[in-house]
């Protein structure tokens, strides 16, 4: 079942006619900023979907539109087959915004209790769930009675996640869940997302930490300047083909280096070690022959596959060269 | 220490210079303001601005009025009113009553302060008129106007006009219509007094409170007495004008004056008492006890017969004695053309001793017989005491009464007789009451 679907979703911001920029008055004629341009997306049930892109690509905008924080200029979207704003659907969704701000005068348990009431959960169920969640997100026990004012960034992120999971949602939407966290925190988020996935939930999140996304996503969509530049299953987008090899040799003679230089794309000398990037099997064979002939010692040989980051950079820089013209405002 | 860097010091110095300059300028301005004293007149209290103030008060006009009221009280409080300040105070009252037209005490107090104390009755009455317009259903303000017109301005017609307005008020008390009616009568104040005390007396009877009814009755009788005395005083003045230099020898001489002969309205106390008694009995209550009225003129059988006849014919008996106050009062008024009857047991007599003011004694020659006898007794007593003192001092009896007193002894005898002094026995007697027994006291020398 398609859980999230957008159809030509667009969001265009109209600037004020008169604005002050760089200390000077500026008159804007038809100055529109396109945050999203006719976005088409589909997320199936049970997937973990990553919405990726550089800053300002429109990831947060998409999520905010889905959650009803912003209204689209044109186009439509559906959650769980129902149009946006459906309350019943919302009771099956959990949402964690980017850099969340919460009522800082509430204590930890009060905070979750409040949201629980908004879900319509009865008191007993709320109390039980709050305890479970505190364990799940690994918040210390004393945090329960501590006002949110006293929470650290990591703790806030955790309790934010807790409120997103409060109602045992089918779809969990996370906006930059790893922003501002240390590597340990990021790992914990990754673990939680994976565990959610294993429970059969759909996870839809945006991120610009591509390495992590690579690890946990089934499907990704890459946005740039409001346009969808790539979308699909990760393994389809990133061919399994080996792109190049990275070899480290030592005690190699200059002659041997010269020979290898012909077939290597990158040679870096570091003390006694030489780092080579070989982009064909032929080049590898040459290397192995050289080493087997006794010229140098092979320390490591690593095949490198296409990484998401490289794919991403490729797509993004490609695209930005094509976009040179202004786009007119589309009617609402 | 970093704060005291050169830059900061410079800024500090410049700052104080600026402050110094601005403060000195302001001082000069303020001094100019305090020299002008008439600021009250100018700001905020001329005609239209009270309206503006009321709008600015945003629905809290009652509080604004209260604050202005307090200010007004304070502004004339201890100092009293002087000619200079009355105008601003008048404006304050004016503005105050514009903002809160229902503040009754502002009108009445303002009238008292501006009119009575300040002497500007016209402006006081302006306030009264304003109050009458804004409080059309209350009696107090026009009543004050009536009071001022009558007693201070001596304008009966104006007083009557205010009185009529007051009477129409919804909360006009019962006594008001009567009081307004009195304005037509010359001896109005006595009507008021008698009416008032009659009310107290009846109330005491109705509520069976002995203290109140006894007091009320005594004051009622006293008021009737004073009323009678005022009539006779008028007759006396007429007599003295007609016979200059002469005094009446007896009270009956006054009966020939026009004041008495042409007829005057007066209360007959015995009739009144008889009436009250009869009504009480008809209301199945106890009548007036003998103990209660023993000091006053007792109603006669004729009075009771009259009371009976009157209560059967003209009344519709209401259930309460106090409701009948009006009727009782009116029925007790009679027109007499001879001397008034004393409400006390003894009749009115002439006591020449008090015909002229003598060394502290008031000029009150008309009194009850009982009082006259008392006067005689006390005079004799004091004479005999003086003689005793003389004897102790001089060791002999005085030859005549002139020796006892510092001045020539010219006090007339209360009954018009003579003082008889026997210088052998040292006893003074009255020619008219030669065998008067003096009350128990010190023995007066040898009994003669």
């Amino acid at each position: 079942m398609i859980i999230v679907e957008t159809n030509k979703l667009s969001k265009i911001y109209t600037h004020d006619f008169i604005d002050i920029e760089h200390g000077r008055l500026k008159f804007n004629f038809m100055r529109n900023t396109i945050a999203l341009n006719k976005l088409d997306l589909q997320v199936h049930e049970g997937e973990s979907f990553g919405l990726l892109g550089p800053n300002g690509a429109g990831k947060s905008t998409t999520i905010k539109i889905l959650m009803g924080i912003l209204f689209p200029t044109s186009g439509s979207a559906m959650l769980m087959g129902k149009p946006l704003g459906n309350t019943q659907v919302k009771s099956k969704i959990g949402f964690l915004p980017e850099n969340p701000f919460f009522y800082d005068y509430l204590k930890g348990w009060e905070f979750l209790d409040f949201y629980g009431r908004l879900y319509g959960m009865p008191k007993k169920q709320r109390r039980q769930k709050i305890e479970e969640l505190f364990d799940l997100v690994r918040l210390p026990a004393h945090a329960s009675n501590l006002p949110l004012k006293g929470y650290s960034k990591g703790m806030l992120q955790r309790i934010g996640l807790a409120q997103a999971l409060l109602n045992n949602p089918q779809l969990v939407i996370l906006d930059e869940p790893q922003s501002g966290l240390d590597p340990l925190g990021r790992k914990e988020i990754r673990d939680i997302i994976l565990s959610l996935k294993s429970q059969g939930k759909t996870v839809f999140f945006s991120s610009h930490i591509l390495s992590d996304a690579e690890m946990i996503c089934d499907k990704v969509a890459i946005l740039n300047k409001g346009e969808l530049v790539a979308c699909g299953e990760l393994k389809e987008l990133l061919s399994n083909k080996v792109r190049d090899y990275e070899a480290v040799v030592t005690e190699i003679s200059p002659a041997g280096v010269d020979k290898l230089k012909k077939s290597a794309t990158n040679v870096v000398f570091h003390e006694s070690e030489v780092l080579l990037r070989l982009n064909s099997e032929e080049a590898v064979r040459v290397l192995l022959q050289t080493v087997a002939a006794g010229d140098g010692r092979l320390i490591s040989l690593t095949p490198r596959r296409d990484s998401l980051e490289e794919f991403f950079i490729r797509k993004v820089t490609n695209r930005s060269e094509k976009q040179t013209t202004k786009v007119k405002a589309t009617k609402k | 220490m970093k704060f005291l860097s050169w830059r900061n010091i410079v800024y500090l110095v410049v700052f104080f210079c600026c402050i110094g300059f601005t403060v000195t300028q302001q001082l000069k301005e303020m001094k100019k303001v305090s020299l002008t004293t008439v600021f009250f007149d100018k700001w905020a209290f001329s005609g239209r601005s009270a309206d503006m103030l009321k709008k600015m008060s945003l629905g809290y006009d009652l509080v604004l009025a209260d604050i202005l009221w307090l200010r007004t009280i304070q502004s004339f409080g201890g100092r009293g009113m002087s000619q200079r300040d009355w105008k601003p105070v008048y404006y304050q009252f004016d503005a105050l009553t514009d903002i809160d037209p229902s503040m009754e005490s502002a009108y009445s107090f303002g009238n008292m302060v501006i009119g009575d104390e300040g002497g500007h009755q016209k402006e006081g009455l302006d306030l009264i008129n304003k109050g009458m317009k804004n409080l059309p259903y209350r009696y107090r303000v026009p009543f004050e106007g009536m009071y001022v017109s009558n007693w201070t301005l001596n304008n009966r017609d104006q007083a009557r006009w205010y009185g009529r307005v007051a009477v129409k008020a919804l909360n006009a008390p019962d006594w008001l219509p009567r009081m307004v009616a009195y304005l037509d009568i010359e001896a109005g104040q006595y009507f008021v007094g008698v009416d008032q005390y009659l009310g107290n007396f009846l109330q005491g009877l109705a509520t069976e409170q002995d203290h109140i009814l006894t007091l009320g009755l005594s004051r009622l009788i006293d008021a009737i007495d004073k009323w009678n005395l005022s009539v006779m005083d008028k007759a006396l003045t007429e007599f003295e004008t007609a016979h200059p230099g002469m005094e009446p020898k007896q009270i009956e001489d006054l009966a020939q004056t026009d004041t008495i002969k042409s007829g005057y309205k007066i209360i007959d106390s015995r009739r009144m008492l008889a009436l009250v008694d009869t009504i009480q009995r008809r209301l199945k209550k106890d009548g007036l006890s003998a103990d209660l009225i023993k000091n006053y003129a007792i109603p006669t059988k004729a009075d009771f017969d009259w009371a009976n006849s009157v209560t059967t014919k003209s009344f519709v008996l209401k259930t309460r004695l106090t409701d009948l106050q009006n009727e009782i009062f009116n029925l007790s008024i009679i027109t007499k053309n001879d001397l008034p009857n004393s409400p006390y047991p003894s009749a009115y007599v002439w006591n020449p001793m008090f015909a002229k003011p003598r060394s502290g004694m008031p000029e009150q020659p008309i009194m009850n017989e009982a009082k006259r006898l008392e006067t005689l007794t006390s005079m004799l007593q004091s004479f005999n005491d003086e003689i005793k003192n003389f004897k102790t001092r001089e060791n002999r009896l005085p030859n005549n009464l002139d020796e006892i007193f510092d001045t020539k002894f010219v006090t007339p005898e209360p009954y018009g007789g003579e003082w008889l002094y026997d210088n052998k026995t040292g006893v003074v007697k009255s020619s008219t009451h030669s065998d008067l027994k003096l009350p128990e006291g010190e023995p007066t020398g040898e009994q003669g």
Binding site: F95, P100, L118 | L58, D66, L170
Partner: protein, 323 residues
């Protein structure tokens, strides 16, 4: 409905932490206390008129201040601090959220108004029971003579204090003596006008910054109390033209617009029953017992108006994009 109450309770919790609330409450106590001193300066025969005037007015005005100063931040802060993001994602409608905010603010205002009223009534009862005649009567009945420095005198006052406080609380629930007859009705009507003002505060808070909201709400309050004067202004326009029929062109338009304005703005003077409480059946009695006539239609007007304004607020809020 439960969700609306959850938001309301949360709003109340947030409002209670606002320090300004306590300053305003303290200020109103000071005013009521001060009015007792002021009343001694006055020579009014009217018993306690000054205290009643100042007390009732300050309850009304401080209630207004609380509604404004706490209310202007409510919606705006939610949007600015982005705490609204998580709310909107929950199964709660935007209108439900706004209504929750409104009810929470209303509860805050009402709780404070009731506290101020209790103090006010207690002061009145205390003054009534410790007036010189009352003291005289009390001690005479007991057959004691007392001087102002004796223990019995102070004990009498202490007892009176506690009894007055108790009676003050009871007055909220309908108890009344002559001195506080119908005063609770005045406070009740005042509370309805506060409901209208609070609705406006919420409305403005949905789209304006706090300062602007405060200014708008204050202006609304001023216009509301001057509603009757607006009509009079229209009448003067007509009078200047010698009659409504003679109005032409611009003047006619002005007249119609002014009348339209008078019809639309909230007539807050309708809820000002302070004059009735102080002057009562002034027309008929010597020392009137206050009579505050309560009109069901007026109450309905207030409530319906507040609901209307809240609907407008919901409309505005529904259309808002939260940046």
């Amino acid at each position: 409905m439960n969700k609306v109450l959850a938001v309301a309770l949360n709003t109340f919790r947030e409002a209670v932490r606002n320090k300004i609330l306590y300053f305003l409450l303290l200020f109103s106590m000071l005013i009521i206390g001060f009015s007792t001193f002021l009343s001694d300066l006055s020579i009014n025969e009217a018993q306690n008129k000054l205290i009643k005037d100042i007390g009732l007015s300050s309850i009304d005005f401080i209630g207004f201040l609380i509604a404004v100063l706490v209310g202007i931040n409510l919606i705006y802060n939610e949007i600015e601090r982005r705490t609204i993001y998580t709310i909107v994602s929950k199964p709660i409608d935007r209108p439900q959220f706004i209504w929750g905010k409104y009810i929470g603010l209303l509860i805050t205002v009402y709780v404070n108004v009731l506290i101020m009223s209790i103090v006010f009534f207690s002061v009145l009862y205390f003054r009534d029971s410790t007036a010189p005649d009352a003291i005289q009567k009390h001690f005479q009945d007991a057959g004691e003579t007392v001087t102002s420095s004796s223990f019995a005198y102070y004990w009498f006052h202490v007892k009176a204090l506690f009894i007055s406080a108790g009676k003050g609380i009871a007055t909220i629930f309908g108890y009344s003596e002559q001195i506080t007859h119908h005063l609770m009705r005045v406070v009740g009507m005042s509370m309805i006008s506060l409901a209208v003002i609070t609705a406006f505060a919420i409305l403005y808070s949905t789209f304006a910054t706090p300062t602007l909201s405060a200014v708008y709400t204050f202006l609304t309050f001023i216009i509301g109390t001057m509603c009757n004067d607006i009509v009079r202004y229209a009448d003067t326009i007509a009078k200047n033209a010698n009659g409504v029929e003679n109005l032409v062109g611009v003047a006619y338009l002005k007249y119609k617009l002014v009348w339209l304005g008078a019809l639309l703005v909230p007539n807050l003077e309708l809820f000002n029953k302070r004059r009735d409480a102080v002057y009562g059946m002034w027309d008929v009695m010597e020392n009137p017992i206050p009579n505050v006539p309560i009109d069901g239609v007026t109450i309905a007007y207030g409530i319906v108006y507040a609901i209307g304004v809240m609907c407008l607020a919901c409309l505005v809020f529904n259309r808002r994009n939260f940046k």
